[in-house]
Every structure is written in structure tokens, then in C-alpha cells.
């Protein structure tokens, strides 16, 4: 299929306003006749559901958590970017656009990225109006901090809980609509399948996670705002319930999946300490504003961090990237850490970590100032490790964090299935091959508040004549039956091993062969091994309980079953991209200094994968060529 991104004509800075000028509208009286399903209630989903409810559409919002307020946007710590230029330090929409495009290693669409930067300004206004308590200066004006990959201060923050505060603002806007009756809320519900009628997305099959009942929900449009799938690595910074099932099942119904292997490995997470471990806790990137990263120069270092003199420390980010230093972008910082750890300089019991040191900042600014900026992060660190980071450096290590890849969407955020939209981390659109810090909260919010309400209206404008969609359609019947059979199949295997056993094995394979660094041989090996593991899963997994009641193991089993297939596609994606770009680092393609080597001539495109129609067939690659009209791709240097 020829992929058309539907980029509006005109100069870069006029594209979005041109789109809005000509987009079709829906008459207020007609809106309540149109049903909208939103799956996921994080920043993207809840902001869209609230905005559509305010406009008068008939909205149903779904989340698997017991309350929309618990969606994983809640965990983002450091901040949200906006080109307000409050600091008068040379920021502008254009500069933010260039930073983001460059940060993504020129593997994103110019028009999308520009729109992201453009709408960032409105998001801060919206959040402040909702009562989000951003950090402020003494005069009462909003304060900013710096984040990785940029040289201006454009990050707005609410201590180390920016995601939580933004989400609560959005959640409250959503609950206001629930109270008004314009949004019906289905928490503790998981989407099991997408229903497509005559080629259009017309509803979902959802499972009530408390009773186990399967439900049919019909609508004129379905929006997936279901977040990222980094939990595929098992050990990740994501919540336990984060999953790729909604987008994967939509993929199997015809939605293309773009760049699945582009996973951001975050440089500052807590290191793994044992096999029992269920997640890796993130320490916000904002810590790198004042923390300095180092490893001991000596290979067999046995002294405690504080006993190692200054001249025997290797501040490797400051050494390799003097212009950006400790604020080098995430992909680069993570790889630099891996390079030092692999070279034997890692610290901690498992030699798998590096130091993040605040002693200089505490000396210069005082402990009280550092506590005000990062107090909750230092407390969290102490709770988990038992170590006081005001007294000795933190130990940190890279961990799987964000999926730049996701469902392919056009400029309108619509997937290749008409009527199916994907928002936030669930789509691939704005971050290219590497996301800059504090752009994730931004993208999710902007998609939900400012973009999708326009583009979905444009789609819905000719749907009024369709009338109510019936859940009695045969497509619903088939989808429900399939979902039912899938659940029952998992329960009848009755093997020897738990779901987690398989998930951990899959995660390890992906970490080793499709993680921070990849190569052809390893990826081919991983594809074979994941296929074997999947077979083993279907003969030897043990899922207890029944489908007709609350059953967390069954939920996990369904997600892991999809993870095998996503994992295989990730490996194909990484294998067919013979270049290094952003977070995708193919060992065969690097400069002499060990930096990523892009190949613009052959790979200046987005890989959009098509489901071949059959399990175990090779996926079909479609390409969306990227053209750069306004900024010429350069070699990304932070030196």
C-alpha cells in the first residue's frame, strides 16, 4: 500500500493552521449522535476523552487500571517541554522543532515535529488553568529547568512529579465530563480486540477485569491511546500492566506498525540487583542538571566512591561530549554507560552500574536547594536502596523506557485502518529514532488536547449519515468468539511454567540482541529463539483460575502471548535497517569513535510493517520516505 502521510501544503509554520482552517466540522447538534471510543486514560486518552466530551460527542473511555488517574503517564518525573522562551535564552518554536528533529536523528516528519513544538505553548496555558502546580519563581512566574539534548531551559516541572500533576489535571477534566454524562467511564476493562466493519474501525471487544465478562462496544471511531510496550523487556521502567496488546491486535486487523525496534533505553534507572526483580525504577533525567556521571578509572576498583580521588574518576560524558556533558541525549548517554560497563569499569555488586554524583552541586548550592529540586527522588532512592544520596553518589544503570515506535499514523493521527486513531506513545509519529527528555508528556497531551479533536472531527463529519453502529453485526460476533477462544486456550494448556518465567526469558533475549546494541547475527538468532520460546509457551505455560472471574495471571498471559509476536517484529525491524540511528545502534554501522552512523541515502524512511495475515509468516515491509524540505539532516553531534 502507498503510504500517504497527508501533510498539508504550505510553509512549515502555516501547515497546521492551514489544516485547521480547512478541516471539516461537525455541527454541535450532531455531535451527540456520534460515538467515540477512547482506549487508555493516560495523558493522551484522558485529554482527548475530556475534550471530545466538552465538544458534545458521546464518549466511552476505557482503562485497565482501577482508576484513570493511575495510567502510567503518572510516573513521568522530570517535566514537560514548551517553547515559551520565558528564560529569554534564545528559545523559539523553530529551535524546539530543530532540537526535536535532531534529537530523533532525522527519522521523523518535519511537519509533525513542528506542530508538536507549536502546540507546546498552549499546553502549559491549559495545564496552569487546570490548577497544575508547576514550579514557580518567587515573583510568581513559572520556572524552567534544562533537559538532555538542548541548550536552553524550556522544561516546566512540578518537583519530580510532573507526570502525576499533569495527569491529575487531565483526569479531573475527564471526571468533570463523567459527572456531566458526556463520558462514560469503564475502568478495570481491557480491550481484547478491534472490530472492523467494511474496512472501518467500528468498535472493540473489552473484558471486564473484575467479572471476566466480555463486552461489545460500538462507535463511529476508535482511538487507541494505550501507551508504550517497553515492558516487553520484562525489566523496564514501565508499570507492570503496561502492554502492547491493544495496538498489536489492531495491527493484526490491518493497522501498520512503524519502527517497532526503536526503544529508548533510559540512562538513569536503578540497576538490577537480583532475579526476583520485577521492574527497574527510573531516576529522572532532571537529576543530570546537577548530578555528574562517572566511573572509576581503575579496572579493579574496590574503594568506596567517596574514597576515590577526583583524578581517578572518569567523567566520561563530560570527556566525550564537552558541549552537552552530563546532559547528552538519552541514547548517547545510555550507550556511553554500556561502553564503560562492558569495558569493565562498572560499579556495584554486579558491576552493572555507574555513579551519579551530587557532591559538587551540594557544595555549590547547599543541600537545601538540592532537596527542594529533587527531594522526592532522593527519598525514593533511599527507600529502594537504603542509601542516602546526599552522602554518597547514586548508582544508576540503563533500562528500557519508551517506545518511539508504535502504530503508523498520518498527519491526522489516523492509522491505516480508516476511523482508527492512535495517540501518544501508542503511535510512532514525533520522536524519530530517539525521544528527547520531557517531550513525552508533551506529545501525549498535545495529541489529545489540540490535535485529535480537530482531526477526528474531520473524519466524523461524514459519519452522521451512518447512524448508530450495531453490536449485533457479525464482525462483533466473530471478534468476541475469537477473544473468548483465545482466553480459553490459554487456560487449557496447564503446563509447568508461570507466565513470568516466559516473559523474563523473552525480555532477556530482547535485551541481549535487540537492546542498546544490535547486530545481524544476534537478531537472526533472537528471531529463532523467540519463535521457539513462543512454541514452548503454548505447550508449557500454566495459567490458573478461570476466564469468568478476576484473573491477573490470565491478563498477563494474553499480553505475553502478544509480546512474542511483537518481539519477533522488533527483531525484523532492527535487522532490515542496515544503519545506526538514534536508539537503533547496529554494531556494524558505527564511526571510528563509536558513534551511530546513519545511512540517509538508503534508509531515510519509516518502516511501516504490515501483518502478513498468518502467524509465523514474514512481516511485510512498507516504506514511508522522509523528505526534509526545511532542515537538512546533519550528523548528529553533541561534542
Amino acid at each position: 500500500m502507498k503510504l500517504d502521510a497527508k501533510i498539508p501544503q504550505g510553509p512549515l509554520e502555516e501547515k497546521w493552521s492551514n489544516y485547521k482552517k480547512t478541516a471539516r466540522l461537525v455541527n454541535p447538534a450532531n455531535r451527540k449522535k456520534l460515538d467515540v471510543i477512547v482506549v487508555g486514560t493516560g495523558l493522551a486518552g484522558a485529554s482527548l476523552a475530556a475534550s471530545m466530551g466538552e465538544l458534545g460527542y458521546n464518549v466511552k473511555a476505557f482503562c485497565f487500571q482501577d482508576s484513570p488517574r493511575r495510567a502510567h503517564s503518572v510516573a513521568a518525573q522530570g517535566g514537560v517541554n514548551a517553547a515559551k522562551n520565558y528564560k529569554n535564552d534564545g528559545d523559539s518554536v523553530y529551535r524546539m522543532f530543530v532540537d526535536t528533529l535532531k534529537g530523533g536523528d532525522f527519522r521523523a516528519r518535519e511537519a509533525n515535529v513542528y506542530r508538536l513544538a507549536e502546540c507546546s505553548v498552549n499546553l502549559i496555558d491549559q495545564a496552569v488553568a487546570q490548577g497544575v502546580p508547576f514550579g514557580r519563581e518567587y515573583a510568581g512566574y513559572l520556572n524552567n529547568r534544562s533537559f538532555g539534548g538542548v541548550q536552553v531551559s524550556r522544561t516546566f516541572y512540578a518537583r519530580g512529579q510532573t507526570g502525576q500533576q499533569l495527569l491529575l489535571g487531565t483526569y479531573q477534566a475527564l471526571m468533570r465530563q463523567v459527572d456531566k454524562g458526556s463520558v462514560q467511564l469503564y475502568s478495570s476493562h481491557e480491550m481484547l480486540d478491534l472490530v472492523v466493519i467494511d474496512g472501518k474501525a467500528r468498535g472493540i471487544i473489552a473484558r471486564n477485569l473484575e467479572t471476566g465478562e466480555l463486552e461489545r462496544h460500538a462507535a463511529h471511531t476508535v482511538v487507541l491511546a494505550t501507551g508504550g510496550f517497553g515492558k516487553i523487556y520484562y525489566l523496564s521502567t514501565l508499570a507492570m500492566g503496561c502492554n502492547g496488546s491493544a495496538i498489536w491486535r489492531a495491527h493484526k486487523k490491518g493497522a501498520y506498525f512503524a519502527s517497532p525496534s526503536w526503544t529508548q533505553i533510559h540512562p538513569t534507572s536503578l540497576p538490577q540487583s537480583g532475579d526476583y526483580q520485577s521492574k527497574l525504577t527510573l531516576m529522572s533525567e532532571s537529576l543530570r542538571n546537577d548530578g555528574r556521571i562517572w566511573v572509576p578509572k581503575n579496572l579493579e576498583e574496590t574503594r568506596l566512591a567517596n574514597d576515590i580521588p577526583e583524578e581517578e574518576r572518569d567523567y566520561y560524558l563530560e570527556r566525550r561530549y564537552p558541549a552537552f556533558g552530563n546532559l547528552a541525549p538519552r541514547d548517547i548517554s545510555s550507550r556511553a554507560a554500556k561502553e564503560r560497563i562492558d569495558a569493565g569499569h562498572g560499579i556495584g555488586a554486579l558491576k552493572n552500574a555507574v555513579y551519579l554524583d551530587f557532591s559538587k552541586a551540594i557544595r555549590e548550592q547547599g543541600q537545601a536547594k538540592i532537596a527542594e529540586k529533587y527531594g522526592n527522588l532522593f527519598n525514593m532512592y533511599e527507600k529502594i536502596t537504603g542509601i542516602n544520596a546526599y552522602k554518597e553518589p547514586m548508582m544508576i544503570s540503563p533500562a528500557a523506557h519508551f517506545s518511539m515506535g508504535g502504530l503508523w499514523v498520518d498527519y491526522e493521527l489516523m492509522t491505516t485502518i480508516p476511523g482508527l486513531f492512535a495517540l501518544g506513545e501508542a503511535n510512532f509519529a514525533d520522536h524519530g529514532a530517539n525521544r528527547l527528555g520531557a517531550n513525552s508528556l508533551l506529545q501525549a497531551s498535545v495529541d489529545g488536547y489540540f490535535i485529535a479533536p480537530y482531526t477526528i472531527a474531520n473524519y466524523l463529519s461524514d459519519q452522521i449519515k451512518v447512524g448508530k453502529i450495531s453490536t449485533q453485526d457479525v464482525a462483533f460476533e466473530v471478534a468476541e468468539k475469537e477473544a473468548h477462544e483465545k482466553l480459553h486456550h490459554l487456560l487449557t494448556i496447564k503446563g509447568k511454567y508461570t507466565v513470568d518465567y516466559f516473559h523474563k526469558k523473552l525480555g532477556k533475549l530482547l535485551y541481549d540482541y535487540c537492546g542498546l546494541a544490535r547486530n545481524k547475527e544476534g537478531l537472526e538468532f533472537a528471531i529463532k529463539e523467540i519463535k521457539k520460546l513462543k512454541e514452548e509457551f503454548y505447550t508449557d505455560v500454566n495459567v490458573t483460575g478461570t476466564a469468568g472471574a478476576m484473573n491477573a495471571e490470565l491478563e498477563k498471559a494474553g499480553r505475553v502471548a502478544d509480546y512474542f509476536e511483537i518481539g519477533i517484529l522488533m527483531c525484523y525491524d532492527a535487522l532490515t535497517r542496515d544503519e545506526s540511528c538514534g536508539a537503533h545502534f547496529r554494531e556494524e554501522y558505527q564511526t571510528e569513535e563509536g558513534e551511530a552512523q546513519r545511512n540517509d541515502e538508503q534508509f531515510q524512511f519509516i518502516s511501516a510493517w504490515e501483518w502478513p495475515g498468518m502467524v509465523d509468516s514474514e512481516p511485510i515491509l512498507n516504506k514511508e520516505d522522509l523528505t526534509f524540505e526545511f532542515v537538512q539532516p546533519t550528523i548528529r553531534s553533541y561534542k
Binding site: 485529554s47 475530556a50 475534550s51 466538552e54 487500571q65 482501577d66 482508576s67 488517574r69 493511575r70 502510567h72 503518572v74 510516573a75 515559551k84 498552549n122 502549559i124 496555558d125 491549559q126 495545564a127 496552569v128 488553568a129 490548577g131 502546580p133 514557580r136 515573583a139 510568581g140 513559572l142 518537583r159 512529579q161 507526570g163 502525576q164 500533576q165 483526569y171 479531573q172 471526571m175 468533570r176 463523567v178 459527572d179 473484575e210 508499570a239 507492570m240 540487583s273 537480583g274 526476583y276 520485577s278 525504577t281 525514593m380 527507600k383 529502594i384 537504603g386 489540540f450 509447568k496 508461570t498 513470568d500 500454566n542 490458573t544 483460575g545 472471574a549 478476576m550 491477573a552 495471571e553
Partner: protein, 250 residues
């Protein structure tokens, strides 16, 4: 370490529950409390028994989904800590640990250790917001908020909605949860227009949800993982009285 666990098992909302005893060997002191429960569940599944259902998600103390009562204390022995952030180094070898759900009239048990906290959503839904539609917002810096006021609003806004305050209170009161939202919004200029209505509506909803009155024991603050202060409750009472008086005057 070796542990003796007594865990509340309950099939569903209507069935009667009971404490069931389990023994768990080889617990590592660096495990989190939930990882200890994962280990127990793996053992149960391997023996073809149904695992214990418990709420959890982010496992970094911010989503508010996890929470059980451990040896009679909501979220366990460590101050200002959610269950997921509690580590086994806080327990002794051969210790018996009693694990129960967050119990309160307003939080019916769904299964085992999972409770229904939908009442919290309904309290927020009744007025815990600023009525601003998408697109209406003025330029952010046109509403200055002093540093101290913003910080104080943040302190109240930091509530994660876990419900430990309710589980701890002998009256099963949701006063701390409700007051934190009322206070956050009462402090901020952009939320002042709806201040009176908000206080009256949210408190009416709280009462409707079968939460008891504030017991004035301040136990909620002690067990709150975010350290939300009981001064929020004082502020809520002030807001309520003020709004009631103004309403009466009209």
C-alpha cells in the same frame, strides 16, 4: 529469610473471606514487598493453586494502585512509603506477617487483597476540578502564583489516591483525601471561582459514599505515603463552613 504469611483470601465481593497461612522460604532481603508476593504466587501457580490477587502497577510509589494492610498498618511499617516501595529488609527472618486488604465501608473487597476505590473517582467527579474547557486557557504567566503558594498547593496535590488514609482511620473517613484536593484548588487563584461550590459538593459526595467522619486521631497523616498533612482537613472544614455561611447569606 523464611516467612510465615497469613493472607486474606476472598473469592469475590459476595463470598466470605478468611485468613490463609502460607510459608515462604528463600526470601531475599532486597526484594520489595510485592516481589515477595510475586514469589509466593509463583510458588502457588507451580502447585496449581490460585495466586493471591493484589493491586499494583507502577511499583515506584506514584500510581497509588497498590496498598495492603501489613501487620495492622496500611502500607506496612515504614513511614511515608507505599507497599511497592517497602522492602523485605524491614522484616525479620521467621517473622509472621499478616496481610489484609484496605478495609472500609467505602472500599468493598473485590477479591483477596483488591478493593473497589471507585468512591474516590466519584468524589473528584463531584467537583474536584477547575471548569476550564480545552482551548479556553489564557497565557500561563498572566496568573502569577507566589512560590510559597505554589509549593503549598503542590504539597496537597501530591496525594496519590491510594486510600491508606481511609484504611487507617477507625471511622473509615476519606477526609484527608477529599481535603487535599479541596485545599490544593482553594489555594490557587485560577481555581477560586468555584471554591464554595466545590467544597459543598465534594463533601456531600464523600458523605454519600459511606465514609465516616474525621476521627481527629491524625492516624491518616502518619500512614500517608505522601505525608499529606492533616492541616488540609482543617482547611477543608474552614472552606465548608465558609461556603455554608455564604450560601446561607444568599
Amino acid at each position: 529469610m523464611k516467612l510465615y504469611l497469613k493472607i486474606w483470601r476472598q473469592k469475590d465481593r459476595v463470598s466470605e473471606g478468611k485468613l490463609v497461612e502460607y510459608t515462604l522460604d528463600n526470601v531475599n532481603t532486597h526484594m520489595s514487598f510485592l516481589e515477595m508476593l510475586d514469589t509466593l504466587n509463583n510458588q502457588l501457580i507451580t502447585n496449581n493453586e490460585e495466586p493471591v490477587e493484589f493491586d499494583h502497577d507502577c511499583r515506584e510509589g506514584i500510581c497509588g494502585q497498590c496498598g495492603v494492610v501489613i501487620n495492622g498498618i496500611a502500607h506496612g511499617p515504614l513511614k511515608n512509603t507505599t507497599t511497592c516501595q517497602l522492602h523485605m529488609r524491614e522484616f525479620k527472618d521467621n517473622e509472621t506477617i499478616l496481610i489484609e486488604p484496605f478495609r472500609a465501608a467505602g472500599f468493598p473487597v473485590k477479591k483477596d487483597l483488591k478493593v473497589d476505590r471507585g468512591a474516590f473517582d466519584r468524589i473528584i467527579s463531584s467537583g474536584g476540578y477547575v471548569s476550564v474547557n480545552t482551548g479556553q486557557a489564557p497565557e500561563a504567566n498572566t496568573i502569577p502564583v507566589g512560590h510559597e503558594t505554589a509549593e503549598a498547593a503542590f504539597d496537597s496535590a501530591a496525594c496519590i489516591g491510594c486510600g491508606a488514609c481511609v484504611a487507617t482511620c477507625k471511622n473509615g473517613s476519606a477526609a484527608l483525601f477529599t481535603s487535599a484536593k479541596i485545599t490544593q484548588l482553594a489555594l490557587l487563584p485560577q481555581a477560586k471561582e468555584e471554591r464554595d461550590q466545590r467544597a459543598l459538593k465534594m463533601i456531600a459526595q464523600m458523605d454519600k459514599e459511606q465514609f465516616g467522619h474525621c476521627s481527629n486521631t491524625e492516624a491518616c497523616e502518619v500512614e500517608c505515603p505522601q505525608g499529606i498533612s492533616v492541616l488540609n482537613i482543617a482547611r477543608m472544614n474552614y472552606e465548608y463552613n465558609r461556603a455554608s455561611f455564604l450560601k446561607f447569606k444568599k
